[in-house]
């Protein structure tokens, strides 16, 4: 009933079906773990959760169909350029965490993303770059001090660096 106030976002129907698929996968795992056979099986809770998910997903899909769609497309409403590019940068950042280590990856990611998000701002491009690099550097050092030195968290050190750095550099 409440849904009438909202319009259907692009991709919402497809999303509903994705949710339904997830529900079925959860139910399948519940079945594999004997959820249908014993009331105390490891699969009983996954099965119950899967059934609730599947029923809700069906209701969600049916309700979505009654909504009036918005005019704009997926690329403007859900994934405009800022968001798509940011997500891409995060993905690359995470993929690089283990190979080149936390410090270098974070420095590169932070300066790149800050530079990108601040583009077209009032500052001149050169000062913008300086600001981004400085902030990234300060952040990496701060994280290193708090996490590595105080809390002895061994941040990813980069297996690519292991072969080129002198011993004693890495734990």
């Amino acid at each position: 009933m409440h849904d009438q106030r909202r319009r259907r976002e692009p991709g919402e129907t497809l999303f509903g079906f994705v949710l339904l698929l997830m529900s079925l996968a959860v139910m399948a795992e519940g079945h594999r773990l004997r959820g249908f056979e014993e009331v105390s099986a490891p699969g009983i809770t996954p099965l119950a959760a899967g059934v609730v998910m599947a029923i809700s997903a069906l209701v969600i899909i049916l309700r979505t169909r009654t909504l009036v769609p918005t005019e704009a497309g997926f690329a403007t409403r859900i994934a405009p350029r800022d968001i798509a590019l940011s997500v891409l940068m995060i993905a690359i950042y995470m993929a690089l965490l283990e190979p080149i280590g936390f410090h270098i990856a974070t420095f590169a990611f932070l300066s790149a993303l800050i530079l990108y998000l601040r583009r077209g701002g009032p500052a001149s491009p050169l000062r913008g770059l300086g600001f981004a690099l400085l902030l990234a550097l300060v952040s990496v050092v701060a994280v290193h001090v708090v996490f590595r030195m105080v809390f002895t968290v061994v941040l990813p050190q980069g297996w690519m660096l292991r072969s080129i750095l002198p011993p004693g550099w890495l734990l």
Binding site: H103, V140, T152, V154, I164, L165, P167, G168, W169, L171
Partner: protein, 335 residues
Amino acid sequence: MMHRRMLLGGLAAAPLLGATTARAQAFPSRDLLGVIQWGAGGATDVTGRAVTPHVEAALGQKIVLQNRTGGTGAIGLTYVHGLPSDGYTLLYGAENPLLYKVLNISQLDYTNFTPICLLARSVPVIVANKDKPWNTLKELVDDMKRNPGRIRMASTGPGGQAHVVSTMIASTGAFRHISVPFDGEGPGLTALQGGHADWMTVGSGAVAEHVRAGRVKALAVFNETPLPSLPGVPPATADFPELARLMPWGSFYGVWAKKDIPDEAREKLVAAFRTGTANPQFTQLMTGNGNVVMNTSGAEAEAFLARWQSVTAWILQEAGAARTDPATLNIPRPS
């Protein structure tokens, strides 16, 4: 800021250094990493943290400890196995990996590691809710035989101490009971005191104080002799002499390194841990709490592990609790 510049400097000089890194200075030339495969506050964690300062003193370097938990310890073990075999990474573990292959938990286990030092072992104690009529292990077992499927045991999951000990006792004459898995010894003891379980087996360290306070009733220690920390509690062999062939048995805590670390590093580590474990402050702590200090390494430790694995795996197999037949894993039958 300093660190960053130095790191970049190191990068620039990297091609020159690449070839010469293999010959390092005398071991250990920097901090070590100790991965604890169980959570903070648990027996493995506490034992490890209690011994480490003494080891650091003997080793001359710090050991940075971190807990990597999950998968009954398989996560921590797998992680250490993935790091270089340079002796700078240690695994602080307990008995669980010896059963990974039998219980289908992981294909990596202690066969991929070398024991640096087995620190201490705990002795299982069979305890009951204080309002229950039993006063000896025999009375409990007889009652379970009379009332099959009525009496509740708190367990800590398959392969856990309670499960294995109850299976061992059942090997002297079958009985059927309800086994309710709890998240560990502490939660099991809580349920026992609340009357939600009737009996359980728990490590001497965790239960001694509860017995002393009279909150639970100790029926027997799973050992051939009584424990000094639990005076007056008879050994399980008093009622069931045939259990002696399975003893000593119980949880133990130790330190491992990857199998192929350099000999020099292994020798240094073994020496440091043996010195640390012998520290009177540590031994007092352990024995005062009802644990038995082991301080064994090398062939003696390997033999202990092999026997433990053989006894336990085959008991589980006979009870139908093993998921992979120990025979196919080349685990010999206990002699």
